[in-house]
């Protein structure tokens, strides 16, 4: 069983969480071009690496950020939004 560490609820089985994908800055929809918008909507960084992702502990609805190596599936760090440093 894989364990994810929720910053509020502590270590829990990963089945209590869901992953919302990589954190991606949204371009301003009023000023960006169609291509930039399509790139934001569809394209993904699909190659392996250490990525920052949104995760949610579904039992408590706690959203937080996970730094994870997507090749080795190792969680490096978890923290609440705004605690990043």
């Amino acid at each position: 069983m894989k364990i994810m560490i929720c910053p509020v609820n502590g270590p829990r089985p990963v089945s209590e969480f869901f992953c919302w994908g990589e954190i991606r800055p949204m371009p301003d929809p009023d000023t960006c071009s169609d291509d930039e918008w399509a790139d934001y909507v569809f394209n993904r960084n699909g190659a392996p690496g250490v990525k920052k992702e949104w995760w949610c502990h579904s039992a408590s609805n706690t959203w937080f950020i996970v730094e994870r190596d997507t090749e080795k599936d190792v969680v490096l760090r978890t923290y609440l939004y705004g605690e990043a440093a």
């Binding site: 990589e22 399509a38 992702e53 090749e71």
Partner: protein, 413 residues
């Protein structure tokens, strides 16, 4: 005592030729370089040689042939998809499959079993009727059947599924089949090799040389190759190869796991799929139950497998077949599925001239092997997308014109 086998064991020189020849050196240039020695890549090499007379071709495989998703899928072949593009494409594939054993002179154990997609809810029944109508309109043998029909085809099934997901009916697709998946790679490999293509295993692509928007060559772990045409057919490694040529894509990688049970006497003839219970299952010629579920819920670029998966899938299997409670799971594995937002592949030309993509095959690639080889060979040879794959181009995302293939495997409805 099979004397022929004994002869194999005693002989120093192998009395039968190998499936394909060994090439100690890479040539300095090829007309076409195919990255990925799975079913798709080898099929493309085969049809390039057979249909287009292009034989100066290298297939580069970083591991061994058929060791990726070709050997990791659950070997189901069907064409009852949802969009006209998908149905036409996969149906062509089913037709190609049916003659393949004869063409290769190799037994692929292609077995026509019939394929049921079970519906446990009213809304699933609605989707099944929709799919059946689209299928029939396009000439595919596909119909909605009731629970009695399902029970006759699979007498061991608990139609109530443990009481919480009663089966209300199913989409029945008579041509649904299974085949021995690694033999497909070997058959295409041997056919391509006989016609002059070179297969290089243990050869990893490290970089792709692009100059002025055109492919010039490929850097491999065994040296540089000059070429003007590269076909990328690497399933879960697609984003890594695309990064080498600087192409953005919507492909994201999630593992798809599968497992097999110990061998049992034949008791399950058809292929059964349930979107609600996240199961697909068939019984192989060896008697093993080959089982799959849905995608792992988050991105991982490796083929690790998890106990959570075995637990979840087993519990759903028992909902459907309670008598299996004493059957053991023999082994499990995972493949890296290159998923797309609309569950349709990405095939054809790309913004880089001479770089052709056959990717985004997610959970639906095995059944398409022959038609992919054929259409990609056409695309590479003529530098024009084959008419069957124009709906699958990479452009469709930039133009906001997605395909929406919700008939794909492990897609909930």
């Amino acid at each position: 005592m099979p004397w022929r086998l004994l002869r194999f064991a005693l002989s120093k020189k192998h009395p039968e030729p190998r499936m394909f020849s060994d090439h100690p050196q890479l040539k300095s240039s090829y007309d076409v370089v195919i990255i990925g020695g799975g079913g798709h890549g080898l099929a493309a090499a085969y049809y390039l040689a057979r249909d287009h007379g292009i034989t100066n071709v290298a297939v580069l495989e970083k591991g061994y042939i058929g060791g990726g998703n070709t050997g990791r899928n659950t070997s189901i072949i069907r064409s009852n998809y949802l969009t006209p593009e998908g149905v036409k494409f996969y149906d062509e594939s089913v037709h190609l499959w049916q003659d393949l054993s004869e063409e290769f002179d190799l037994n692929l154990f292609y077995a026509n079993r019939g394929h049921f997609t079970l519906a446990h809810t009213d809304s699933a029944m609605r989707t099944m009727r929709w799919r059946a109508e689209v299928n029939k309109h396009l000439g595919i043998d596909s119909e909605v059947v009731g629970p009695d029909f399902v029970k006759r085809a699979a007498p061991m099934i608990d139609l109530s599924c443990g009481g919480h997901a009663p089966i209300m009916g199913a989409l029945y697709h008579a041509p649904g089949s299974v085949a021995r998946h690694d033999a497909v790679a070997w058959g295409y490999g041997r056919g391509a090799d006989m016609r002059g293509a070179e297969i290089h295993q243990q050869t990893e692509v490290l970089g792709i040389d692009v100059q002025g928007g055109k492919v010039r060559g490929v850097q491999t772990s065994r040296g540089y190759i000059a070429t003007n045409k590269v076909l990328c057919a690497v399933a879960g490694f697609t984003p890594r190869i695309l990064d080498m040529v600087g192409i953005q894509s919507p492909i994201y990688i999630h593992p798809l796991q599968a497992m097999v049970s110990e061998p049992l006497k034949p008791w399950l003839d058809p292929i059964l799929v349930s979107g609600s219970l996240h199961i697909y299952v068939s019984q192989s010629a060896r008697g093993e139950l080959v089982m799959g579920a849905s995608l792992d819920p988050y991105e991982v670029q490796s083929t690790r497998s998890t106990l959570d998966f075995v637990e979840g899938l087993s519990s759903h299997m028992l909902d459907m077949f309670p008598f299996l409670s004493n059957v053991k799971v023999m082994r499990q594995w995972a493949g890296m599925a290159d998923m797309t937002p609309d569950f349709a592949p990405i095939m054809g030309k790309t913004p880089v001239e001479g770089f052709y993509l056959d990717g985004g095959w997610g959970t639906w690639g095995f059944k398409a092997t022959p038609v992919c080889g054929k259409t990609m060979a056409h695309t590479v040879a003529t530098d024009t997308p084959h008419p069957l794959i124009t709906g699958f181009s990479l452009d469709r995302f930039r133009n906001f014109s997605l395909t929406g293939e919700k008939g794909a495997a492990s897609v909930g409805h």
